[in-house]
């Protein structure tokens, strides 16, 4: 399978450099956290915790029982951190995969057929390029309810544009190559040429935009959570920072605000470095600058 092949190459390319290797390990750790986090969390993230005397543990500093202290509502920060990995990962991965699949198909079709279809699709990406990303998502969320799925959908609607443009440019040059002409003389249909001959060749390029879309999506999810437009039923790293901010107690409780920000920073940094390590291999032109 072409996809498996590409994934293997992706892994080999990024594992080859030290930065890429560390980043892959960090990212892998976050993936595991996203899967098992809620199971290994010592406390219910929304439960109020009380001390031995039955008093609510408000803003308790880190202790052996509450590793990262508690929030103003007496909730365990460490457990919230463990729960928060999952939404970040789900939203990030769904958005990245969704926008790349759509962008890839639009790019393939526009680049291959050219003409009117191409100019129509390019017009659409132009319009999306002018769309202010975060404000647009806020408007959509405020109009249609706040759920994880709306957030993913709104981000996909905007983010596919960059993949589409990169893929289109590549397809336009591949279209003239000999292997395409050869396929055509054997009587292959346009569909076959596009998806059997051309698509496997642009997939590596699409993979680089997956990583950048992933980074964007994780940051944006946190921003939405911070602005208070996140899914109210979900504990995410962004919503932890939002609660700390909204309570106006964060400046007295660094253990409450520092961990979620550091987690986002570490995760997104690893994603960026994975993307760059892979990009250097796939697209040597970029290594020398553009």
């Amino acid at each position: 399978m072409a996809v498996m092949d590409i994934l293997r190459k992706f892994y080999q390319a990024t594992w080859a450099t030290t930065g890429g290797r560390i980043s892959l390990l960090v990212f892998g750790f976050c993936v595991i956290l996203a899967i098992v986090g809620p199971w290994i969390a010592p406390f219910d993230p929304m439960a109020r915790n009380y001390d031995a005397a039955g008093k609510l543990l408000r803003l308790a500093p880190p202790s052996s029982e509450h590793w990262l202290g508690t929030t103003v509502f007496g909730r365990d920060v460490f457990s919230q951190m463990l729960w928060g990995a999952r939404p970040a990962m789900i939203i990030g991965v769904l958005t990245a995969v969704g926008s790349v699949i759509i962008g890839l198909n639009f790019g393939l079709i526009a680049g291959y057929f050219g003409g009117r279809i191409d100019s129509l699709l390019m017009r659409i990406t132009d319009i999306l390029l002018g769309l202010p990303f975060l404000p647009f998502i806020i408007v959509v969320l405020s109009l249609s309810g706040r759920s994880i799925w709306t957030i993913v959908l709104a981000m996909v609607v905007v983010l596919w544009r960059s993949t589409a443009r990169i893929v289109r440019a590549e397809v336009m040059s591949l279209r003239e190559r000999q292997f395409v002409a050869a396929a055509r003389t054997t009587g292959a249909s346009d569909f076959d040429i596009l998806y059997r001959e051309i698509a496997p060749n642009v997939l590596p390029l699409a993979m680089t935009s997956i990583t950048f879309a992933l980074a964007w999506a994780i940051i944006t999810e946190a921003s939405i959570g911070f602005l208070g437009f996140g899914d109210p039923d979900v504990v995410s790293w962004g919503s932890i920072i939002y609660e700390a901010y909204a309570s106006q107690m964060m400046y007295r409780a660094p253990w409450w605000v520092v961990p979620p920000g550091v987690a986002i920073m570490v995760l997104v940094t690893s994603v960026y470095f994975i993307g760059r390590a892979y990009e250097d291999v796939v697209n040597p032109r970029l290594q020398e600058g553009r």
Binding site: L131, Y245, Y251
Partner: protein, 323 residues
């Protein structure tokens, strides 16, 4: 040349128009009746009717749409659902505040990023280079609102160097007139968000310039400049860097537009009364005319940024016009 400019202008106008239309229908088509948030169902039916007529919601959709376009053409954004005052009145000053926050810090980020990127790229392989690539990427990966909070925690609360938020000390300029922009108090309030926005946006121009300079090493014109006996500094600043300014200059306007869109979060943390904060507050009040107007202004700035980037590109690199 002129046909290229006309075409780009036309495309930008089309983009804006599409966005206006999209906004109009989004606010009316999405699930939930927006009029229900404006006009409380708890009101007497007669009062409801009167409000509907006041906001023009009793007319058929296409008529509302035409009126909406006509109003926008005269910069009439309607009345705020929240304050009842004309939206246009409130929004002008907010636009200026956003520009004052975003533009200087982005330009600072670009100037700083280009120079540091050029110097480190020129020396290539230094330890400082590796560290700075890592640090700037990490800073860009952190949520900017969180960076701001940490900065406030440290610089404002611990060290008491800067105010915690707002554009001037509340109550100092009761009229919020032009004088406040020329006060030291304003600069004092601007300092921290300016600093955060600068280091947050440093990464992109830094990496761009660095890789661009890396690519010039070994180019013939660089060798020639060296052979002419120019000092390394002169070769870097007058030849290598000048040639690498093209991508820097052309991405600046576009990233400016994006930074305006991204200012939503930084304005919220610093209670900076700009367009972004206005929009977030308006969403909280279900003040749809205000949300719409703020969104359209941010979008207009973004579109203007992309347009400027293209035009700048066509001036700096005339080859593009023929494509």
């Amino acid at each position: 040349m002129s046909s290229f400019w006309l075409r780009r202008l036309w495309h930008s106008a089309l983009t804006l128009f599409t966005m206006l239309t999209l906004m109009f229908f989004m606010f009316r088509m999405l699930p939930g009746d927006p009029t229900a948030t404006v006009i409380s169902p708890a009101l007497y039916p007669k009062a409801q009717e009167a409000l509907k007529i006041q906001f023009g919601l009793d007319k058929p959709l296409w008529e509302q749409y035409l009126r909406y376009l006509g109003n926008l053409a005269t910069l009439d954004f309607g009345l705020s659902f929240h304050t009842g005052r004309p939206v246009a009145e409130e929004i002008g000053g907010r636009l200026l505040n956003t520009i004052l926050l975003v533009f200087p810090s982005m330009i600072a980020a670009y100037v700083l990023g280009s120079f540091v990127g050029a110097i480190l790229g020129w020396k290539r392989g230094s330890k400082t280079e590796a560290i700075l690539v890592f640090v700037s990427t990490a800073l860009q990966s952190a949520p900017v609102f969180w960076l701001s909070m940490i900065a406030i925690l440290f610089f404002s609360i611990k060290l008491d160097l800067f105010p915690v938020g707002h554009i001037v000390t509340p109550g100092m300029f009761p009229d919020e007139d032009w004088r406040m922009y020329f006060s030291l108090d304003f600069l004092h309030h601007l300092a921290l968000p300016f600093l955060i926005n600068t280091i947050y946006n440093f990464c992109f121009p830094f990496l761009l310039m660095r890789s661009s300079i890396l690519a010039t090493v070994g180019e013939e014109y660089i060798e020639l400049a060296r052979m002419k006996g120019l000092t390394e500094k002169a070769v870097l600043y007058r030849h290598a860097m000048r040639n690498s300014l093209l991508p820097i200059a052309t991405t600046l306007p576009m990233t400016l537009g994006w930074a305006v869109a991204g200012s939503v979060v930084i304005e919220t943390v610093f209670s900076w009364p700009g367009l972004g904060l206005l929009m977030v507050e308006a969403v909280g009040h279900s003040d749809f005319p205000m949300v719409q107007a703020a969104f359209l202004l941010i979008a207009a700035l973004t579109v203007a940024g992309t347009l400027m980037a293209d035009l700048l590109y066509s001036i700096l690199d005339p080859r593009i016009v023929n494509h």
